[in-house]
Amino acid sequence: MKKVIKQVAAIGAAGALLAAGVAFSQAKVSDGIVKIGVLTDLSGLYSDLAGPGSVLAAQMAIDDFRAETKGGAPFKIEIVSADHLNKGDIAANRAREWFERDNVDMIADLVTTSTALAVMPIAQKLGKITIVSGAASTLITNEQCTENNVHWTYDTYALANGTGRAVVKQGGDSWYFLTADYAFGHSLEKDTGAVVQASGGKVLGAVRHPFPGTDFSSFLLKAQASGAKVIGLANAGTDTTNSIRQASEFGITPKQQLAGLLMFVSDVHSLGPKVAGGMYLTETFYWDLNEQTRAWSKRFFDKQKRMPTMVHAGVYSGVLHYLRSVAATGTDDAKAVMGRMRATPVNDFFAPGARIREDGRLIKDAYLFQVKTPAESKGPWDLYHLRQTIPADQAWQPLADSRCALVTKKK
């Protein structure tokens, strides 16, 4: 009964927001233009997994939205992009400039947690929207959560949860961590360690390496000496790819198993199946999942000459959902648009039927993949076996554990 009341209340609230949206539609879109800013890493470490591909994905969302409305939307859409160099202060300055001077309405991508955390409060203060796709930390929907933000694509909890649980289940019940020595690595190690222990496994220890590193053989030898069945790689990007290569070089794999805790299809592609084959990893998107993902990814590939990562697909999905919400409410007012975005399920190939939770977390399915071996892989991007679909209600941090003020306030 209580649940029903809650649902009725939710529908009522959504209705009220819709009504508010209609009321605002009198005001229309400010200056007749909806301006989307893609703030990402265009030149550094993450420019393959986000970067120019994210700009392309946002542009594709705009094109598809135009095709959908047959040019009938009563506003123009513009896109701007900039490089934040993975630095929080640069991201914050650029966001301020975009919001205050250039009338940007929404900022998408924000790869690297520090940049997302720098821009989110500015958007909140100025009444603008952020849709985070590239950043990983669960801080974004917990301590640092804001009303005007959605964390669209993935987070460290979902990855640790998916990979950690699956690997323990396969018999990998003793772990040793190779951890990048900064906030992100520590939180990934902590999240995964908790999942491993909850699933009945043991954590034997961890070694922390400077970030960024180049040679990991010393650390790998320590991990080898620990005798753990699984070496968990709580690092990212080239640190991860170099660790995996060097583990295979020193004969550590396949005697001990590696678990990549934050890996993108771009990393696996760069390593190739010969080195990465057999590894488990969790992502929320892979180009070869179904007809729709293949069709979209092919369009992406034709322009970018690389297959899209989950970050790219997430940017597309977020921008499209945003534009549809602007069209439905007839305004670019952040509160009205965000209300509409939260009230309606997402409808695209990336997150069909997914909803945005109170803390700003998009709740969609995640997938456990295993990397194909050279014999199984039929092309340079034919890389994953789908081993398990982790249903939306199990993939993410439960709302009961939330540390987000928007959630705890209500309790």
């Binding site: 922390r208 390496h209 590193g213 053989s217 000496a225 080239t238 170099n242 290569r245 070089e249 020193f250």
Partner: protein, 331 residues
């Protein structure tokens, strides 16, 4: 013994061996820098980018060149790359020296540093645009795959080859510069180029070729590195700062200093990464919490995560005691 160290002697030996491998990389890279600084007075910040280009040329030769020239059977294998990549990158270096660097010799070091730093950024940017950032895979040559089980660790054959190859090249370079007639001209050129020119030696040509050789050494190290690290546009900038520290510690411009310091720092780094010293400090101070607390900041420096810092700590100490570096001469 094992009890005291918190690690078996075998495991420690394994860590030292890994340190030696890394040290030989540092040695060959810092050697090139030291030669260029010693003879040209140029701080070559492009060194990291030239190392990266060496690796990329090896990769292109193996995987792409045949496709580009329309003859898929054409493959430049690893061994040819070891020769050809340094030549190609060395030629690129000579072009830079002839057109740009030589205009800066009479100016302050800072101008050369800025120019070479700019060129490094341009090169890295171009390779990033062409090849992306994720890195490319270069397989270990068939002759060197596999490894030896040494009892205390598994030694990949390729890593053993890297140590042998780079130390051999370092030795030959040192021998030529310090022990042959050609080397004596080079050294005389650094002391007093005008006087040497008066004796009929073509000093500008000598300087150009020296720069080319220093750059070629970087490219050679790049080819050696290609099968170990992902071939990546930023692979050089990750390493170059450490290599600069090695040159400063060894003494700017000192050939032997660069080699010895490179290997030595690799070993020190290996010991720190193994965490042995931190464990020993722990054990030694376990009886008295006050001493343990007092010594805590020192202990932090010897934990594995500080392995990137330890080289700079050594640098600070060396510069305080011997401002010209371990093997440098004060002018």
């Amino acid at each position: 013994m094992a009890e005291l160290l918190g690690i078996t002697p075998q495991a420690l030996f394994g860590q030292l061996l890994v340190g030696l491998i890394n040290g030989s990389f540092y040695a060959i890279l810092s050697l090139g820098l030291a030669i260029i600084f010693g003879l040209l007075n140029i701080i070559n910040f492009t060194h990291g980018a030239q190392y990266m280009m060496g690796a990329f040329i090896a990769w292109i030769g193996f995987y792409k060149l045949g496709e580009w020239v329309g003859n898929p059977d054409l493959v430049v294998n690893y061994w040819w790359s070891l020769l050809l990549a340094p030549l190609a990158v060395g030629a690129f270096g000579i072009l830079i020296e002839k057109t740009l660097l030589k205009r800066l010799y009479h100016l302050d070091h800072l101008y050369g540093l800025l120019l070479t730093f700019g060129i490094a950024l341009i090169c890295e940017g171009l390779f990033r645009t062409w090849f992306g950032i994720s890195g490319l895979r270069y397989d270990v040559p068939a002759q060197l795959t596999g490894g030896q089980n040494l009892g205390f660790m598994f030694m990949p054959n390729y890593r053993a080859w890297v140590v042998v190859a780079s130390l051999a090249v370092c030795f030959v370079t040192w021998f030529v510069i310090e022990r042959t007639k050609l080397g004596s001209y080079l050294r005389a050129g650094t002391e007093n180029p005008r006087l040497l020119q008066a004796f009929g030696i073509n000093v500008p040509l000598m300087i150009t070729l020296t720069y080319g050789y220093g750059v070629a050494l970087a490219a050679f190290a790049g080819v050696l590195a290609a099968p170990i690290f992902q071939v990546n546009p930023l692979m050089g900038s990750n390493l170059i700062i450490v290599v600069f520290a090695v040159v400063v510690i060894g003494g700017m411009g000192s050939i032997a200093g660069a080699i010895v310091t490179g290997v030595g720092l690799g070993l020190i780094e290996g010991v720190v990464k193994s965490g042995v010293i931190a464990t020993v400090i722990d054990k030694a101070t376990s009886g008295s919490p006050i001493v343990a607390q007092a010594i805590y900041p020192v202990k932090l420096l010897f934990q594995p995560e500080a392995s990137a810092v330890i080289i700079f700590v050594v640098m600070v100490i060396v510069l305080l005691v011997r401002p010209a570096g371990l093997f440098g001469r004060e002018k």
